[in-house]
Amino acid sequence: MNDLFAGFVEAAHLVLTLDNDLVEISLRSLQVSVIAVFIASLIGLPLGALLAVARFRYRRTVIALLNSLMGLPPVVVGLVVYLLLSRAGPFGVLDLLFTPTAMIIAQVIIVTPIIASFSHQALRDLWYLYHDLLISIHTSKAQRMKALLWDGRRALLTATLTGFGRAIGEVGAIMIVGGNIDHLTRVLTTAIALEVGKGQFSLALGLGIVLITIAVVINLAVHSLSKTERGGVW
C-alpha cells in the first residue's frame, strides 16, 4: 500500500517538475508507437477491406492466420527481428539493431495483424449491407474497398487505437531489439522493467501511471476529434 502511494507521489513529482528524462522517454515511446501504428494502418486497413470484398480460394485460411497472428508473443517477434537485424543476419549490413527503427519494425509486425483483423471484422458487416448496391452500381473492386474504408472510418479508428494501445504498452519485443539504451532506445515500458529490476518500485509505478495517462489522453483526444465531425449516428 505504501509503495502504491509512493508511486502516485513519484508520478506527480515527475510530471510537475517536467523531469527531463521522463519527457525524453515519453516522447520516444510516442514516436515509436505512432510511427509503427501509422505504418501498420497503411498495411492493415486496406488488407482488412480486401478480405471483406474479395473472394479467393484461401481467404478463410488467411483470415484464420491473421486472427492467430493477433496473439503473436512479442518476445518471439523481438527475437526473430533481432536475428534478422543482427550483424550475422540477412539485414545486418543495415546496422539497425538497437535503434528506434528496429523497435518500429518489431511493433509493425505485432500491430499489423491486430489492425487488419479488427478492420476486417468491422468492414465485413458493412460489406454485408453494401454488397448488393455496390455490385448493382457496377463498382470496381478498388472502388468497393475505398467506399468501405471511407464509410467505415469510425470503426477503423477503433481498430487503429486498439493497435496503438498494444504498441505503446508493449515491452518484450522492443526490449530485445532496442536494448533499453539510455538516451537512445529507452522508452516508458523498458524503463519500467529496468526500475522494477533495480527494486525502485515507486519510480517504476510513477512511470507506469504516466504511461497509462498518455494512452488514455490519446484515446480521448482521437475520439473527441472524430465525433465532433458529424452527429453520433455512425
Partner: protein
C-alpha cells in the same frame, strides 16, 4: 442515340438453391419499351427474376442475352431494392456516388444532383446523414440515385412494400415520370392495385414459373389462367 441494350432475351433460364428450383425454366423476351409489372405472391420468384436480369444473380442453367457487351449493359441499368440501401454518407454524397464511380467530376455531379434533390423533395436534407432519413425518404433517395445515371432499364423490387400511402404515391409518381422519359421499367410487386396503376404489360409469376404474359388492360379484365383469376380475386394461392 447509341444503340439500345434491349431487347433482353431469357432462354431456358433457371435458378436452383440446393436441390430446390426457385425459378424457371423461363423463356421470355423483354421488349424495348413500356412498364412491365412482375406480379405474383410471395415466394413466386419475382425478386430472383429481377436480380437475374440485373446480373446480381447467376443462372444455374440457361442464357441471358442483352444486345450489347457486359460493360455497356451494366452501366445502363439501375436497381431499386425492397429495403433501400443507403451508404453511411450525407444524402448528397449518396446521390452523386454512381456518378463518381463513372468518373464524372464532382462539380458536375453535384450540379446534376441538385435537380434530382428537388425532383424527389430532399433538397433540405442534402447535408443530412442518409441513415437518419425515414423509410420513405430513403426510398426516394434510392430512386434519385438510380435515375441520376439516366438508365435505359430500371428494375424495382417491391419498392413501396414497406412504405405508407403518401410515400407510395411519390414513388409511383417518380416511376411514371421515368416511364414518360422513356426508361424501360421492370417492377415486381404483389400489390394488385399498384400493378393496375402502372402496368403496360403484366408477367404473372407463380411457383417460379411464368404463368401468363398479357398487356396490362387485358390481364386485369380477362386473365387467361385460373391461377391469375384467383390471384386477382384476392384468393390466397398455395
Amino acid at each position: 442515340m447509341v444503340s439500345s441494350i434491349l431487347p433482353l432475351t431469357l432462354i431456358n433460364v433457371s435458378v436452383r438453391k440446393g436441390a430446390k428450383v426457385i425459378l424457371g425454366p423461363v423463356d421470355w423476351e423483354l421488349s424495348s419499351s413500356g412498364c412491365t409489372i412482375v406480379l405474383g405472391p410471395n415466394g413466386a420468384g419475382k425478386t430472383t427474376l429481377l436480380r437475374l436480369m440485373h446480373g446480381l444473380q447467376k443462372p444455374s442453367k440457361g442464357e441471358i442475352a442483352w444486345q450489347a457487351d457486359f460493360k455497356t449493359v451494366s452501366a445502363r441499368q439501375s436497381f431499386i431494392f425492397q429495403t433501400p440501401v443507403v451508404m453511411r454518407r450525407t444524402v448528397l454524397e449518396n446521390l452523386i456516388y454512381p456518378l463518381l464511380v463513372r468518373r464524372i467530376p464532382k462539380k458536375d455531379a453535384e450540379r446534376e444532383a441538385a435537380e434530382w434533390l428537388e425532383a424527389v423533395g430532399l433538397e433540405d436534407f442534402k447535408q443530412k446523414a442518409a441513415v437518419t432519413l425515414s423509410g420513405g425518404e430513403k426510398q426516394k433517395l434510392a430512386m434519385a440515385r438510380a435515375l441520376i445515371i439516366k438508365p435505359e432499364v430500371l428494375f424495382l423490387d417491391e419498392p413501396s412494400t414497406n412504405l405508407d400511402g403518401a410515400s407510395t404515391v411519390s414513388i409511383e409518381a417518380l416511376v411514371k415520370k421515368a416511364i414518360a422519359d422513356g426508361t424501360r421499367i421492370v417492377m415486381a410487386t404483389h400489390d394488385i392495385g399498384q400493378a393496375r396503376r402502372l402496368a403496360s404489360e403484366v408477367v404473372f409469376l407463380l411457383h417460379g414459373k411464368i404463368h401468363e404474359i398479357s398487356a396490362g388492360g387485358v390481364f386485369f379484365d380477362a386473365p387467361r389462367t385460373n391461377e391469375a383469376q384467383s390471384f386477382l380475386r384476392g384468393d390466397i394461392l398455395l
